[in-house]
């Protein structure tokens, strides 16, 4: 089987960011479940923040954003990680997915994860973030991962719960990718109806 590609989207804003740290752990856990040589591409949305807003205003992506969109199209699986703001994804995270064509993630395995202040935010993944990917017709893995501030202490302080959850989510994504066909972006020109079809199809 050809080499698989996982695209990691991290919407963390600080440097270093706990969102990126969680994203890296999830990517590593996923890669452990896939053949050696699996490619991991990380998209830091902070670096694309201006491009994303420009795209909202002009309707077309800059070369850098265009490259990221292409990577999403060709991804065999996606790990999407956002900080939680006001009980939901960050605006930047949502705006990036708004910049994608609606079909981009259709049928694609996606692992969703978030960082927040406390574990009380855990269900934001289920009531806000999973519905976004359901709308985009992505196939989200059952385990969504929230990392709260307390989870970043020693393994014993949270009983190693985060590590176990990361491993479980990563292996679920790896299994989904392993069982799916390689991503082949659709060619919009391949399916243009002929004029006769356009005229008589109604």
């Amino acid at each position: 089987m050809s080499t698989r590609t996982i695209v990691v989207v991290s919407a963390g804003l600080s440097q270093p960011s706990s969102t990126r740290l969680l994203a890296d752990q999830l990517a590593a856990a996923t890669a452990r479940g896939l053949p050696a040589g699996t490619q991991i591409i990380t998209i830091e949305l902070r670096e694309l923040a201006h491009d994303i807003v420009d795209n909202l205003l002009t309707g077309f992506p800059s070369p850098a954003l265009s490259q990221a969109i292409g990577q999403m199209l060709r991804a065999d699986g996606v790990i999407a990680v956002t900080p939680l703001y006001n009980g939901s994804y960050s605006g930047l995270f949502k705006s990036f997915f708004d910049a994608l064509d609606p079909e981009t993630l259709a049928g694609k395995p996606v692992l969703i994860a978030a960082t927040g202040g406390t574990a009380r935010h855990s269900l934001a993944l289920e009531h806000a973030i999973r519905p976004l990917f359901t709308y985009l017709r992505a196939v989200t893995v059952p385990t969504a991962v929230l990392a709260a501030t307390e989870d970043w202490g020693s393994a014993s302080s949270s009983g190693g719960a985060l590590t176990a959850r990361v491993e479980r989510a990563g292996s679920e994504l790896a299994a989904l990718i392993d069982h799916s066909r390689p991503a082949v972006p659709a060619d919009p020109y391949a399916s243009v109806p002929s004029f006769e079809q356009l005229l008589h199809s109604r």
């Binding site: 807003v53 420009d54 205003l57 002009t58 309707g59 077309f60 800059s62 070369p63 265009s66 919009p188 020109y189 243009v192 109806p193 002929s194 004029f195 356009l198 005229l199 109604r202």
Partner: protein, 368 residues
């Protein structure tokens, strides 16, 4: 090769003075701009069609008829005529009258319109945009070519024994362009009829349009209208010039930064590097415009957007003077590069001559 200007007809506040022209001033300015286009040696003036504020050109043939009376050589066109929300019968009639009044100096560009609320004002639905464009144009095409038309479709009252009057001048309908920024279906439609395809690529990167125009050329050949290179392509452009490049950038920047379409977004520098917009000296405009041919092949019509973002009339007229100096250079360069067999921009005279040749050939074939 034909060169001209196209206007959206927006009423926009000049961001440097805070002054907003009245609708009356804007309409009269559009006429002054069209007259200036002829004076500086341009070939085409095209107006948009809009039915909502802040735009004024809701009745393009009225305006073009008025301009026709004040010009001699200028081709009067549209960018675009809404094939979705206008009754194709009325388009056939309005443009036929205009064609007679202007002695053939008329063509039109069809577009769908992307403003959802406009559709229901005219009894239509934007979700049916492509279907409306296909059915309505099919009827328009017939109305100009068949003396008596019986037609029934999904979107319009049926016609029984209907004759659209007046008949096209010299029996040759106005040339039609189809404009689209993202729909291969419209490229397919233009190719099917052997009509022109206009890619208004001024707000988007070139690569996107290269694919669209390439598709049109390939389908044009598929439908037997000639080689891909012989397809009739028009392109948009957007320029602001001063003798010194720095002066152009300094003067245009506040207009760019506040422009309705891209204002408050990317920097002027990013936007000029990513789109066909050129802000600089006449030589820079020449250099950038010549690159269009490298991307799209030899083409027939180049239209520039000159009067937008609140630029005052005086500045627009100065811009047209500069464009009048740039265009002869572009015309010379591009005409010299165009191989024999690739047609020039469409004119009524050339189309009448072609139809006579065609008729003579048919007569010869049938008498044999």
């Amino acid at each position: 090769m034909q060169f001209g200007i196209f206007t959206v007809g927006d009423v926009t506040t000049d961001p440097t003075t805070g002054r907003t022209p009245t609708e009356h001033e804007r309409i009269k300015a559009m006429v002054a701009i069209a007259r200036k286009a002829e004076e500086v040696g341009l070939d085409v003036f095209a107006t948009g069609e809009h039915h909502n504020p802040p735009f004024v050109p809701s009745s393009p043939t009225t305006m073009l008829g008025y301009i026709a009376a004040q010009t001699q050589d200028l081709i009067l066109s549209t960018a675009t005529t809404l094939i979705t929300t206008n009754d194709p019968v009325k388009i056939a009639e309005d443009f036929a009258v205009l064609q007679h009044l202007a002695d053939g100096r008329v063509d039109l560009m069809l577009g769908r319109g992307n403003t959802g609320p406009v559709y229901p004002w005219f009894g239509q639905d934007i979700r049916k945009g492509i279907e409306l464009a296909i059915e309505n144009y099919h009827l328009l095409h017939r109305l100009w070519r068949e003396e008596v038309v019986d037609a029934h479709g999904e979107f319009r009252t049926p016609l029984q024994g209907f004759t659209s009057v007046p008949r096209p001048l010299d029996g040759v309908p106005p040339f039609v362009w189809h404009g689209s920024i993202r729909s291969p279906e419209i490229a397919e439609q233009a190719a099917f009829y052997g009509d022109g395809f206009f890619a208004n690529h001024i707000f988007w990167p070139t690569e996107h349009f290269v694919r669209l125009v390439g598709y049109y050329r390939q389908r044009f050949a598929h439908y037997g209208h000639g080689t891909p290179e012989q397809a009739i392509v028009g392109l948009g452009g957007q320029v602001f010039m001063r003798k010194n490049s720095q002066d152009a950038v300094r003067e245009f920047r506040p207009y760019f930064d506040n422009a309705p379409v891209y204002g408050h977004g990317p920097s002027l520098e990013d936007f000029t590097s990513q789109t066909p917009l050129t802000v600089g000296s006449p030589q820079e405009v020449i250099d950038k415009t010549l690159t269009f041919r490298d991307h799209f092949g030899d083409y027939q019509r180049q239209l520039f957007l000159m009067d937008h973002a609140g630029l005052p009339l005086k500045v627009v007229l100065e811009q047209l003077d500069l464009l009048g100096e740039v265009v002869p250079v572009l015309r010379r360069e591009l005409d010299a590069l165009r191989p024999a067999g690739v047609p020039d921009g469409p004119t009524h005279q050339a189309r009448v001559a072609a139809s006579l040749t065609e008729a003579a050939a048919e007569l010869e074939t049938s008498s044999r």
